[in-house]
Amino acid sequence: MSKNKTAQTRTAAQREQRTEVIASIATVLLFFGILVGFGLVTVFSEKESFSETQNRKLADFPKISGKNIYSGKFTSGVEDYISDHFAGHDRWIAAKTAAELLSGKRERNDIYILDDRLVEKIAEPDMDEVSKSAMGIKQFAEDNHILPYVMIVPTQAEIYKNELPANAPNPDQQAFINDVYSMLDGSAVPIDVYSVMSANKDSYIYYRTDHHWTTQGAFLAYTAAAKKMDITPLSVSDYDIDHASDSFKGTFYSKVLYEGIEPDSIDIWLPADREKEPEVEIYSTFGAEPEIHEGMYFREYLDVKDKYSTFFGTNQPMITIRTGNKGGRLLVFKDSYAHCFVPFMTEHFSEITMVDLRYIQMSYKDIIDVSDYDKVLFLYNASTFMSDRNLKKLMY
């Protein structure tokens, strides 16, 4: 009996020891297996030069030169190259998002991950800088003897503020917009879109995965603007709505690569009675002939990641639209929120020019003559208006 027991303990101890040895061999193999495996795949995999998800050019392998090496550019370049092209790059990013969510965080890369949408975290505005932007608009009004319309659109962070994590830092955009409107008092006609956006927050007025508003959101703003601008707006029933895509994953998605949010759809609203699409002139560089595009919708973007660019393409310094309709001429200073808004205005103007001050180095006076225009509209979302420093250029 006792002999049997010793034998049993011995085999148990042996088994224990054997497991230990196997486990330590496995540890070594797994450790180096992971390192060598991903290392090799990274070297031999085909390299993309551009990342669609990140919307940026990926790092090239750095040039080997004495100067690069001594300045440390070579080594930091290699590290950038490896991280940009690391095997399974986007999956690692997604894995980090998952790990962060598991640890209880609801915020990643300045994006709040809510149950049914992503929302951008916005920094507190520097009001000194903002008042310079307001000064720019005032100066513009004075110089050109015109009363411009100003529309500052709240972003998701304001409209869905009650859904954000408790106490999440989030500047009050309603107060901000009111502040700016009162700075402009007497020099501009403010257009309130806050009320209409907030009243319709349960409709699909903002993308869930992108920082823009939807065409439906822009339509609400259009009806609000029409009242102020003495325009009789079309109604929803005047449009044929084309569901051009339902697989849009926007800029917020790119920042977190989180699959738990339903992709967005891109809707194109076409007036039912329109016979001919407007002609669009795109000025990407001044002095050269503009590029001509038939129609306002760049449907080739429906097949790529950046689907919002279906509306007038990517941001350009200046775009002129010859609508073929009767009416005056409209000048719009804008950010990209204007791109799905301006098509609604084509019904009421013969010509619309959009200027994006962020892409213009010279004075606006060098590229347009404001006296050619009947109406001027400043259209920005609150986040851009808080952070962009280009409106003050209107002072010169």
Binding site: R15, E16, Q17, T19, E20, V21, A23, S24, I25, A26, T27, V28, L30, F31, F32, I34, L35, V36, F38, G39, T42, G66, K67, I69, Y70, S71, G72, T75, V78, E79, I82, S83, F86, H89, W92, I93, A95, K96, A99, S103, G104, K105, R106, E107, P165, A166, N167, A168, P169
Partner: protein
């Protein structure tokens, strides 16, 4: 190069280790020497020359001391040359800006640091890209000079035998695991291993586990909790709530511990894989029951260096009370200055020197009698206030920050605190548990209960930890190594 970089992890490490494992004992020091130089030159393509020069001088000093074994005068000269050269390198590359700034501030002059003038001159000869305004600190200079000095001093004191092989000596200095941020391995601690060492599978496995543990401390804990401190540090101390100030400095408290001890773990793990046993550098310092104990558990190799080569040579505590306190003050001022060239650091060192003197004067006895949670809390809070001094940029910032901790910002709690504490709850709890030693206890307990269970869970930990850290590294835009400034 740093350990928490994809380039190191996925290329340098496996290539060096594979070469090392397949080579015989003779080639191994050659591999260590060459890879050490490459590792260092990767981050400091210019200053690698300085490291080599320092190695060469200390090696020669050692050989000469050996040659003139009976001539004490000549031996002393060799030692003085070696110490002056190492301290001189520190003075030039680490402290010259501080020295000239202090002089200029005091006298109202505007003397340019001559080292900067040399940089400008060198840049004219060849576009080295040297800094023309300030002196850039060569990575790891505070570590490799101290290591090198341990050799010549111990040789002079006849604690060790001379190293005749330049290869073996330079392998010691350029041993890549410890070159950048320690631990400060003294020559005598690895003298035997430099001649011959064994590499076995259990050692490699244990090394890998220790490495991944350190990597996880750095990448998963230090970097993430550090984000909180970065945010709080940048705020206006005049208007932050007391809770936010405390949260911020506690975040730094954890960040610096996990950053530094993580780096030491990674170094020791790599050392193990190469067949070296490095001395322990951290032993759960935040559960110390006195400041004196804290310093026996925090950066242990630095403390023991100063004890062996400064405190004891000065007479230690054997020459009466007055001299003991003088010696303590010198050691702690130097310890502070070692951490960085600014008055904040000197004051930080003296602050600990003062607390240790108070403890020696009798407060230590009181602490022993108090319930252990009280003495732990005292020590922890004393250390946390030390970190304010350590990581704010100027003395006046430190003052304002401490005021904010006592409510000078006007409120007790604000939205930032509430939001941040909730979203980082899991992270902070992990920081508390692991720095408190719960993780190590569990692992020890598992090892006693069942060695096979521990071995299997180690394999799982290494795999999971490495993959998770990789996800964070691929994503990393925030990955500064705190200990690079020293």
């Amino acid at each position: 190069m740093v350990f928490s970089e994809l380039c190191f992890l996925y290329y340098f490490l496996p290539i060096v280790m594979l070469l090392y494992f397949v080579s015989g004992n003779k080639l191994r020091n050659v591999i260590i020497f060459i890879t050490g130089l490459l590792f260092y030159a990767w981050g400091e393509p210019f200053y690698v020359v300085i490291m080599l020069l320092s190695t060469l001088i200390d090696y020669t000093a050692g050989r000469l001391m050996d040659k003139y074994d009976d001539d004490n005068k000549k031996r002393k000269i060799c030692l003085i040359v070696s110490v002056c050269m190492n301290v001189g390198l520190l003075a030039v590359f680490k402290y010259s800006d501080f020295i000239f700034d202090s002089i200029n501030g005091l006298l109202g002059t505007s003397i340019t640091n001559p080292v900067v003038l040399v940089n400008r001159g060198l840049n004219k000869i060849y576009p080295f890209g040297l800094n023309e305004k300030r002196v850039d600190l060569p990575v790891g200079i505070s570590f490799f000079t101290f290591q090198s000095m341990s050799y010549t001093i111990d040789l002079y004191l006849r604690n060790i035998k001379v190293q005749k092989s330049f290869l073996n000596f330079s392998s010691y200095v350029s041993l890549f695991p410890q070159i950048v941020a320690g631990p400060i391995v003294r020559y005598e601690q690895v003298a035997g291993e430099l001649e011959s060492r064994t590499v076995t599978v259990p050692k490699i496995s244990a090394g890998a586990a220790l490495f991944v543990k350190g990597l996880a401390k750095k990448v998963l804990l230090a970097n993430n909790v550090g984000v909180i401190w970065t945010q709080v540090k940048a705020m206006d101390y005049g208007s932050i709530s007391a809770a936010t100030a405390w949260l911020g400095i506690l975040a730094f408290t954890f960040q610096i511990y996990f950053d530094f001890s993580g780096y030491s773990d990674m170094a020791s793990g790599l050392g193990k894989m190469l067949g070296f046993e490095f001395p322990k550098n951290f032993d759960h310092p935040y559960i110390s029951k006195s400041v004196s104990e804290f310093w026996r558990r925090w950066h242990i190799t630095l403390g023991s260096w100063f004890r062996s080569y400064v405190y004891i040579p000065l007479g230690g505590n054997r020459c009466g009370a007055a001299k003991t306190y003088r010696n303590l003050i010198i050691v702690w001022a130097l310890t502070g200055l070692w951490h960085g060239a600014s008055w904040n650091f000197v004051l930080w060192g003296l602050y600990f020197g003062l607390l240790i003197i108070i403890e020696r004067l009798g407060f230590g006895k009181v602490l022993e009698k108090l319930p252990s949670w009280v003495s732990m809390l005292y020590t922890f809070i004393a250390v946390v206030f030390g970190w304010v001094l350590f990581d704010t940029d100027t003395l006046s910032d430190a003052g304002h920050f401490i005021a904010a901790m006592f409510g000078a910002g006007g409120s007790a709690v604000d939205g930032y605190f509430k939001y941040t504490i909730v979203s980082n709850c899991f992270l902070l709890v992990m920081c508390i548990l692991i720095s408190g030693g719960v993780g190590s206890r569990i692992s020890e307990y598992a090892g006693e209960k069942s060695r096979s269970f521990k071995a299997v869970s180690t394999a799982v930990f290494v795999t999971g930890g490495l993959l998770l850290c990789t996800a964070y590294l691929v994503d990393a835009s925030y990955n500064p190594f705190l200990y690079f400034r020293f």
